[in-house]
């Protein structure tokens, strides 16, 4: 029972981390909470669902389609909605409010065009559970966990090892200086949104399989936002650790206490963190010496 809960908690945490990464990437560069990210995740889930159910294509193709589709939607989002504000050097509050508007708009577009149905993914992972030390572990949980950790680790390597990744980290500290070094900021911001969208698409498919696909599923990103705050907004390792902590906490509370008060625990944790450690576990404390 304990092991099963642990794996379930970690897999939910992994999905939270996938979503939180998108928030953190955007926050680290533009310093605002991109509340439209949840709707991008939702749209990614729809894309994945329709590829697999309407076109009868395989699961890997649906995953790739969702990743590419969500990445492109995120790019469209920044080009159409945020770029005019960024170019005018608007305060980040304006960007956040615009993001909320984009989110409401897209969600209602889905209501109007696709309706409020709940779509369930066809069975992809076999129901039969893996037996492991006497516990039942679902293949879905296991693959969600593996996928999220591997892809986030790949992103980490990209940010640490490549020139472009270094430029993203540099710009997250000082955009003006990065442009002095020859970084085309418009393009870099586009790349950051592509990455965030791709991770959103991945998260969307796993969320859709685990729960269902419906217009307001994007609101579950509230949890990812909590994960990002716990870990420290703008920090990638923070997003992962925050996601895993939250996933474990929720699952253990559901199993050992009661699932109805699960959210009380997660939201209390945010409050506690904001009071005691406002920058999160791995938030930025770096100060330049003058």
């Amino acid at each position: 029972m304990f092991l099963q809960t642990l794996v379930t908690g970690l897999s939910i945490g992994g999905i939270y981390a996938l979503m939180a990464v998108g928030y953190s990437l955007v926050f680290s560069i533009l310093n605002f909470s991109n509340f439209a990210h949840g709707t991008i995740i939702m749209l990614g889930a729809y894309i994945g669902y329709f590829i697999i159910s309407s076109f009868n294509l395989s699961f890997p193709l649906s995953l790739i389609g969702a990743v590419l589709g969500a990445a492109l939607l995120a790019l469209l989002n920044v080009e159409l909605a945020y770029s005019p504000l960024i170019n005018r050097r608007s305060p980040s509050l304006y960007l956040m409010i615009t993001a909320m508007g984009v989110s409401i708009f897209l969600e209602n577009m889905v209501y109007v065009t696709l309706g409020s149905h709940f779509y369930a993914f066809p069975e992809i992972f076999k129901q039969s559970n893996l037996k492991f030390f006497g516990s039942d572990i679902s293949p879905l949980d296991l693959s969600a966990l593996v996928f999220s950790l591997v892809s986030i680790y790949a992103l980490h390597l990209f940010l640490i090892k490549t020139k472009l990744g270094t430029a993203i980290r540099a710009a997250s500290y000082d955009m003006t200086t990065a442009s002095l070094n020859g970084v085309n900021m418009t393009r870099l911001i586009g790349i950051v949104f592509l990455l965030a969208g791709a991770f959103g698409g991945l998260a969307g498919v796993f969320l859709g399989i685990k729960y269902m696909v419906y217009p307001t599923m994007g609101w579950i990103t509230n949890k990812a936002y909590i994960a990002a705050v716990i870990g420290g907004l703008g920090s990638l390792p923070g997003a992962v650790i925050g996601g895993l902590i939250l996933g474990l906490l929720e699952t253990f509370v559901s199993v050992y206490i009661s699932s109805t008060i699960r959210d009380v625990f997660s939201f209390s944790m945010v409050i506690i963190f904001l009071v005691i450690l406002p920058a999160g576990l791995m938030g930025r404390h770096l100060e330049e010496k003058v």
Partner: protein, 238 residues
């Protein structure tokens, strides 16, 4: 190489540069001297493509000057900004490599990195340290080094001696001479007028956004007005 003519720049509602005209020839060290708020940094940011002029022209190598920062950098105009502005969250080496962001010649980058480590041995020791942990003087070295990694055609240095001890200040000025000897044109904005004029081929004095004096570095050092305003020499009896 660089010709600025009747440049007017506004900083919000403030008219920061008023009909400024300066010229920098290939291989020169040109110094801009002026007090706080005279417009030195505004001029530097405009030349680097971050700020935009309202009127006037900037001609760089016989072409209109690129008005976007990353294009200016690609054209070889490299600014080492005031207060260094290193990436505190990156290591010293990563900071230096950001200077080479636009370059693709991997072998030459390696060579340049070696050259920079020979120029500033302290940076080699600190190569894996976060730039935020360096002392002020070391940060200035790193900032100049990052600028050099871009292989600039013209290096704009904004107040490189700001907040440095006399020893570091001397080192910075020696480095500037050495860089210039390697055929890099230098435009230097400084409050430390004496040192800056001593190494300058030519110089301009900027006061509240206007060029009020210009001439060779030596001439300006001898100029009574400059001596009184910037060098602490008194000519009149009290």
């Amino acid at each position: 190489m660089l010709k600025v003519k009747d440049l007017n720049v506004f900083y919000g509602r403030i008219h920061a540069l008023k009909d400024v005209s300066i010229e920098v020839d290939e291989g020169e060290i040109v110094t801009i001297v002026g007090a706080n708020g005279a417009g030195k940094s505004t001029l530097m940011w405009t030349l680097a493509g971050v700020l935009k002029g309202k009127s006037g022209s900037i001609i760089y190598r016989d072409k209109p000057h690129p008005t976007v920062a990353h294009e200016a950098a690609a054209g070889g105009i490299v600014l080492v900004p005031e207060r260094r502005r290193l990436y505190a969250n990156l290591t010293v080496r990563e900071n230096l490599m950001m200077g080479a962001f636009l370059r693709k010649d991997i072998e030459a980058i390696k060579k340049d990195l070696e050259y920079i480590y020979s120029l500033f041995p302290i940076l080699k020791e600190r190569t894996t340290q976060y730039a935020g942990t360096l002392s002020g003087g070391e940060q200035q070295m790193a900032a100049i080094a990052r600028g050099l990694m871009s292989r600039p055609k013209i290096l704009l240095l904004d107040e490189p001696s700001l907040g440095l001890s006399p020893i570091y200040t001397a080192e910075v000025f020696n480095t500037i001479l050495e860089i210039n000897a390697q055929n890099t044109t230098i435009l230097l904005a400084e409050q430390n007028a004496k040192k800056a004029l001593e190494i300058a081929d030519r110089a301009y004095v900027l006061e509240t956004g206007r060029v009020v004096l210009s001439g060779s570095g030596k001439d300006l050092l001898q100029d009574p007005a400059v001596q009184e305003a910037y060098l602490g020499v008194r000519h009149k009896a009290i």
